[in-house]
Amino acid sequence: MTYICTALRAEARPLIDHFKLKAISPSHPFPLYENAKYRLIITGVSKVNAALAIGYWQGVFKKDPYPIFLNVGIAGDKNADLNQGFLAHCVQDRSWQYFPIWIPNTTHPKRKLITVDQISNDYPEDAMIDQEGSGFAHAASYFSIPELTHLYKIISDNKMHAPSKVTETTLKEQIRSHQGTIEDILEHLSYLKKELKTRAHPKTEAILNSMHFTSTETHQVKELLRRCHLLDIDVKTNEYKNAKECIHYLRGLF
């Protein structure tokens, strides 16, 4: 599953429309939307909210060992042009740093992102600023890998255009104008994720469901069947009566 995370409803709206996401039952503390491929969460402003939302989300939905996380939002930058989009190559919050790893297909511009408590006109020289990035990245790092955890930021304000001038309308327009890029990023991350999939032996489920295995035995059986599959070793399903005999039989095949 792919998880898209935004701070504001205005950032989320164009993506909800574009991906035709449906709202999930309103009982959740954070607004959630989904379709068959994507889930989107609106975290609210601040790194604490972003981290809480990711933690909550994964507590509720986590099944996948390597989910894709993409934070989409606006950022300020002293020198970058308005409406430019950047992937973050480093997320910094005081002394804490996180480095997303972009395995390239195409060259997206990248820039450092510093997460601050309050947005102001006091921009750093060579980095974007936002209020959520570090919370998002910190929380996501517990659930996925840096190759599948990314932040895509669109410049909404700079030294010529103060943050106070950002409106809901301009924000939606900015996100909408980057939908194609966001979709490209998500597609590429899905492709990378597919490369992490492993081939299980076709009889794995049948064998594991045919008798009781402890979790250690389940792990051993899966591992032995994986090797059988790779080495084209034929596995019979009627040569053993219990878990111990099954493992003994599978070991004997090598």
Partner: protein, 333 residues
Amino acid sequence: MHPLPKGSLLMRAIYVEDAVKNHPKTAFLCQRFSKKDIIPIRSYSQLFNRKRQSFRLQKQNPALIIAKKHASFLLPTSPDCMIGNLPQYTFSCVLNCPFSCSYCFLRGRYHSADIVYFVNADDFQNAIAKKIQEHNARCLFFSGFDSDSLAMEPILNVLDDFWPFFAARQDADFELRTKSSAIAPLLKRDPLHNVIVAMTLTPSSLASLWEKGAASTEKRLKALETLEQHGFSLGIRFDPIFPGYEKAYEDLVYATFSRLHLESIHSVTLGPMHLSKAGYKRMVSQFPDDRLLARLQETDQTLSLPEKEASLLSLKNSLLKIIPQTLLTVHTR
């Protein structure tokens, strides 16, 4: 500057440790890769040692991390890898390798496939000098343990630091071990009698299967011929060997020594593939679909291929028909 080897342009990014941001090598590499993202970091371990990351995905496009090594510049060579009786040590200015060999223990040693280059060569050299002094005897140093010694040379120019150093240290031998045919950086230098260029050789059908990215066996042999013509001292490494391909190894032995003269051979070694249990587990977690790893069997705390002893014996016999016993070292595990 040498032309960049194929694939190097795909390097993902350049990370630079704060401690070496003003080092001349850093400036050289940042200039060379000026079109890449150059990202400052406090310590290479921020990226390299974090546990939750995908070695397998990074292998497609490794980054270059320019860093400083602070300690443990030399490690005693494992008895499984020693050649002769000299005191032997390994040093690693470079961690990881652009090749992707199925059996490579680096896949289980590091969490990251990024390539780390420690630019503080003088600290390594001081440690080497001190070690020779401690032993008060000739020592052998290897640089090909954590990386291929030549594969990254056209980019990193590590030999610019170590060639003159070993030229001046006649009390030390230095082995470069490689599966690369990128020998131009060697050919521009005068051979040194105390520097051995050791090539790992594998039958071509197996090399194309399990040594992705490395030079073909034919190219390696051609490189050896060229190096011999230029007067370099050569090492031949049939290590690891794969049981069940005895005829292919016999042919390879014949092909190798019909093209090279024994006078230029420093040493020949052969050894089996073996992995620690912990390393194997990490390799399988990163490369669960690797068929070679699936063939390994556990004995004690290591994993190795079945019937390795017969295979070692067969290759040893083939070799001893051509080379004298004194040139040969057989590692049995």
